[in-house]
Subunit: 374 residues, 2 copies
């Protein structure tokens, strides 16, 4: 089977590492021939994933397509779908998800709990919603990796808002942020991973470190699974989905957002699960039985982000110290250039005790810095 991946970043890289356990001919479309995934596929095609003709021509070379980023030419995917190319996920699911306004409306329509919101067309409109603050302003289209999101606490923050169609979402009094991955295949079968618990960097608004499984009550777990399953079933598409959710202090659960692809919150599954999220997506694409989502052991993930103030050829300060640690797995994404906040790698920690996992996560965060050559 010939399978194409739109996008060649670290998610594509890890997807291709997993592909090498199966018999599959892999294609990658990406503008940068030095991207993390370029050298791990059978056929690398240099081109713009946002361009109709490029995506269409790429799609005609393969039997099935998947994505590692939502910002792709969906119109080309729709045409390819009509012509019989299999899609994981379907373009309709990408369309629903990649625009935050449509995504929010989708939750509302399907009675999926999600924070209250209003839609703004430009920055000025924010002044009409002062009673709605504190809120989060999310740009409709084009947001990614913490970009396109601004916290608007008071009137004074309005200048930070987006002058484009956006969602203004009421801030939730969050107790925990969790994420859950669900895979669903063409037969409609589902495989649900145990939810993970996330801790965010308040400055860069990127995932900071993560504990798996999430420390939540059985009740919250059931709600989470039910809500996430509703999201996936409502999207009516095979593929693998990551649903990020808020848990409030009363144990109420609501959806923050969904990604229709392998996800940062599932990196730990490479070592900590019997079937990794990457393996699972291949099983979905290749028509194999779904895998076992159970944890082998508890785990934690530290994301390696480019340190503030450093841009240029990446240098991994403290790497040797981290490589000496037991029960630790280092993943560097092979990006030559670092810049502040860029995702350069991650470290997975296995362990039985949360205390041990958080101790090691914090140790790694302080030891390992991605800087640049002087």
């Amino acid at each position: 089977m010939k399978v194409g991946i739109l996008g060649g970043g670290q998610l594509g890289r890890m997807l291709l590492q997993a592909a090498a356990n199966y018999v599959v001919e892999t294609y990658v479309l990406e503008n940068d021939e030095h991207c993390p995934a370029a050298h791990l596929c059978h056929h690398f095609v240099k081109g713009d994933i946002k361009d109709f003709d490029t995506v269409y021509n790429f799609g005609k070379m393969v039997d099935a397509l998947t994505i590692e980023i939502e910002a792709v030419n969906v119109e080309a995917l729709e045409q390819l779908e009509k012509e019989g190319i299999k899609m994981f996920p379907k373009p309709s699911a990408i369309k629903t998800i990649r625009n935050k306004i449509i995504q929010k409306q989708f939750y509302k329509e399907h009675e999926i709990p999600s924070p209250p919101f209003t839609i703004t067309q430009n920055k000025n409109e924010l002044t009409n919603h002062l009673s709605f603050l504190p809120a989060v302003h999310k740009i409709g289209q084009g947001g990614y990796d913490g970009k396109g999101v601004q916290i608007i606490k008071t009137k004074e923050d309005i200048s930070k808002g987006f002058d484009a169609p956006s969602v203004l979402e009421k801030m939730v009094n969050t107790d925990k942020e969790i994420a859950i991955i669900i895979a669903t295949n063409e037969r409609g079968e589902t495989a649900i991973y145990p939810p993970v618990e996330m801790v965010f960097d308040p400055v860069l608004n990127l995932l900071d470190y993560q504990i798996a499984p999430a420390r939540i009550s059985q009740n919250v777990l059931w709600k989470t699974e039910a809500i996430a399953l509703k999201v996936v079933k409502s999207l009516q598409s095979p593929g693998l989905f990551a649903i990020e959710l808020f848990v409030d202090k009363n144990g109420e659960v609501c959806v923050n957002e969904t990604a229709p692809r392998v996800h940062n919150s599932g990196h730990h599954t490479i070592e900590a699960s019997y079937c990794s999220q990457y393996d699972m997506l291949w099983r979905v694409i290749l028509g194999y039985p779904l895998g076992n989502t159970a944890n082998i052991t508890c785990s934690s993930i530290v994301n390696l982000l480019g340190a503030p103030g450093y841009s240029g050829n990446a240098v991994y300060e403290g790497l040797n110290e981290v490589l000496k640690m037991d029960t630790v797995f280092v993943h560097l994404y092979g990006k030559a250039q670092t810049k502040p906040g860029r995702k350069m790698g991650h470290v997975t920690i296995l362990g039985k005790e949360t205390a041990d996992l958080t101790y090691k996560a914090n140790k790694i965060k302080s030891l390992l810095q991605v800087k640049s050559e002087q």
Copy 2:
């Protein structure tokens, strides 16, 4: 760092899967552009690993070289070593190991226990050693994957012997066959994996299934570690080595043979160890600290060999049944063509109980057959 691999088979494939966790530019030299490793490196070079000029020119492109098979042009490696290319292992170690006669003499010289042997120049000479039977006839140069080895039990078997310089090795009254992997870096530090226990297919003389860790006494473990460490230290080369040993009914341990590279007996380390053998070799090559050789859990490996009587386009009968099994990891090597006994993949089983591991191993062996299209 630019690193070249001589050979592009499944060992190269898994080595490259692991390489994608680090920042390293990879090169593969192999005659077949459809080999399992060809599409997973940055630079694939088509060429004969036994040809001096080809290997020399390939080596000049990189900073360091490793191998995934011993049958390479060692003279070219010696020249490259003189010119400053780093070698994992050193050509001297390959030279010692790849010729069974020299390997046996090496054990004798270094007082490393190994079964008694005599050297034969041709088939006729075997008649001079009838009192030495039952014995194993091993061809000096060119044996690989069960080829180049014949069991000579009686006078009648002599016709099966090799008409070339060979080793005639006394058959050991073996209780167990075990293997142990040791990595050693340029600083002379070593990392020792727990030994594994092997069960062989009596017909094809290939590894059939394996249990890790080996069920041996503390005494046998100590002997095994001491002997294997002696082998590695005596080879005086950085790299990763797999030492196969016999344990007799009295608990005596002796070396069967050594491989100066990642090895079939270490496949389970991908999922069952904190640092896989592949990760470990990259750590050695890249100058990183050695990794943690401890098991995360016990494991078993089933090798998927081409079924007898089938040659042609490979078909994996029973694959779905095996993919449905919990705690099981399937690795297919992506070889389009199968033939009897060809290594087509392996399956790793994780578990705490030996009974569970052997039950599943046998189930997989009976379920999963590599046949060919009719």
